[in-house]
């Protein structure tokens, strides 16, 4: 009786079902891999702005443990909120900048960037005197500075008042905070890189790989929206060192600048250095015609 059931039709059915099940299992295999990297809580984590304080504490604790597990370094990750009555602005004196790239290096170390790609939020453009076209600036110079006939223009996130990167984000993983800093929720970012394409200042960076940093080089003073070690596949950018500046400290790039070309402060404070520069120097912004309204200003001494 059973032999009668082994028909050509049944054999094909069994073969088809087996192949189908195999293909299905293969298709779901990446999910199994994901669980090696993440857990359900991370996967189900809410958007930064929807987390209540208990949930935030839990997230920070999980991230700290995760960092210790992966990098063998004990770090403190905090959630530092904007100060009231504070609007940050930055100005850079192009007459004084010598293009030494110490700001680039300081950013690299402060913000726990990947060591293998030597990532940094700042690029220094070597510009020919007489040109203001930043697209023609050379970032790859490797000779003694300052070179005759050139000036140097460090470019980082301009923290625009009208940020194109924020409007293009399909999932609202990036937004502007009340003190003017444009931030990224690295856990909410889906890595589509629209913002990277939208930024006219080449200010955003994509993590093609998980950052590699030796444990003894990790900066343990971290915050959720700034310099905690980013996951793979997300976009990041300069955040005016908010883990420092929101506590009154100067940004790392400014402290590293040997010439004092960088001026940082709260523009709502009428006696601040930044306010003096904005009121007394002929400041300009990059690509003003785009209407991005940067809060990063440049000026020449006169």
């Amino acid at each position: 009786m059973a032999e009668e059931n082994v028909t050509r039709r049944n054999a094909l059915k069994v073969l088809g079902a087996t192949l189908g099940a195999g293909a299905f299992a293969r298709a779901l295999a990446p999910l199994a891999e994901i669980t090696q990297f993440t857990n359900l809580r991370e996967f189900m984590q809410k958007h930064y702005r929807e987390l209540n304080s208990d949930e935030m504490r839990e997230v920070l604790h999980r991230l700290e443990q995760d960092t210790e597990h992966r990098y063998g370094c004990e770090v403190t990750i905090r959630d530092i909120r904007p100060q009231r009555h504070t609007q940050f602005a930055y100005a850079l004196n192009l007459s004084v900048c010598i293009g030494c790239r110490r700001c680039v290096e300081a950013c690299h170390q402060e913000n726990n960037h990947d060591r293998t790609t030597h990532q940094s939020y700042i690029r220094v453009l070597e510009m020919e005197q007489g040109s203001m076209d930043m697209e023609r600036g050379n970032t790859n110079y490797d000779h003694d500075v300052p070179a005759p006939g050139h000036f140097y223009m460090p470019v980082q996130c301009q923290q625009c008042e009208n940020p194109p990167c924020v409007s293009v984000c399909p999932v609202e993983a990036t937004w502007q905070e009340t003190d003017g800093i444009v931030v990224v929720d690295y856990n909410w970012c889906i890595g589509c890189r629209y913002c990277e394409a939208a930024c006219p200042y080449h200010a955003r960076r994509f993590n093609w790989r998980r950052p590699e940093i030796p444990a003894d080089e990790i900066n343990p003073n971290q915050s959720y929206l700034s310099n905690r070690i980013r996951p793979q596949g997300v976009v990041e950018k300069c955040h005016f060192c908010l883990h420092r500046t929101r506590e009154g400290r100067l940004p790392a790039c400014l402290e590293a600048c040997p010439t004092g070309a960088r001026v940082f402060g709260n523009v709502l404070d009428a006696d601040s250095e930044i306010r003096w520069v904005l009121e007394n120097k002929r400041v300009f912004v990059l690509k003003e015609e785009l209407g991005t309204r940067p809060r990063f200003f440049y000026f020449f001494d006169r």
Partner: protein, 223 residues
């Protein structure tokens, strides 16, 4: 080698400066200016002492102090040790600091002895333009007032007023610490931290390495 002290296309930028001013005004106006009103103005009533260091009136506000330069007690001589390094010679090795020195020469090239190798490239200044001719360890202002070596900022400011003005407003010279002096102190670099008074031009040097992720260069269609 000239530093770009004037902007390129200064005509173009001059016309931009008016727009720039409008831009800044718009920027500040666009921000929450009502916040200014609630700011405690007294806390920011800064006064400035002779060294250019900000001393803030309110005891609750931290100070912005000047990084004190190292007291000059020795020079590097012309002779070299076995490692090829110049030998450090203490002033008191030759000079009795209590006895006035012989008349200072007009220019550094006529110096002899351990001072013979001194490189001098600071305009046409004579030694006595800055140094007190009667004391090895003191400087002399144009007014005739003598000041210690560590007070060099006042001396430099006599000629370099523009730089001094920028310095006092935080746009010249490095600093570390806090932008918000209510949160913590700040330390400002001294002139001589970066500029050798005898050869004040900031030396050119090798920068940190270039980035590894540089974007492709944009070739504009119209050259």
């Amino acid at each position: 080698m000239s530093r770009p002290t004037t902007p390129p296309h200064s005509d173009a930028l001059a016309s931009r400066s008016a727009r720039g001013a409008a831009l800044v005004a718009a920027f500040i106006a666009a921000l929450d200016v009502t916040a200014c009103a609630s700011r405690d103005a007294d806390r920011f009533s800064a006064s400035q002492d002779a060294d250019g260091a900000h001393r803030l009136a309110d005891g609750g506000v931290y100070a912005s102090t000047l990084h004190a330069p190292r007291q000059l007690v020795s020079i590097l001589g012309t002779t070299r040790n076995l490692q090829g390094q110049p030998v450090e010679i203490r002033c008191a090795t030759c000079h009795d600091l209590l006895v006035p020195p012989p008349a200072l020469p007009d220019r550094a090239s006529s110096l002899g002895g351990p001072h013979a190798g001194l490189r001098f490239d600071h305009g046409g200044n004579a030694c006595a333009a800055c140094h007190d001719p009667t004391r090895f360890d003191r400087l002399r202002l144009a007014t005739g007032e003598t000041i210690p070596m560590t007070g060099a900022l006042r001396l430099c400011a006599q000629c370099h007023g523009t730089q001094y003005r920028n310095y006092t407003h935080g746009s010249h010279g490095g600093m570390t610490g806090h932008w918000d002096l209510r949160s913590g102190p700040r330390v400002r670099n001294h002139c001589v931290d970066c500029h050798d008074p005898h050869t004040p031009r900031y030396p050119s040097f090798r920068p940190m390495p270039p980035p590894l992720d540089a974007p492709a260069r944009v070739e504009t269609r119209h050259g």
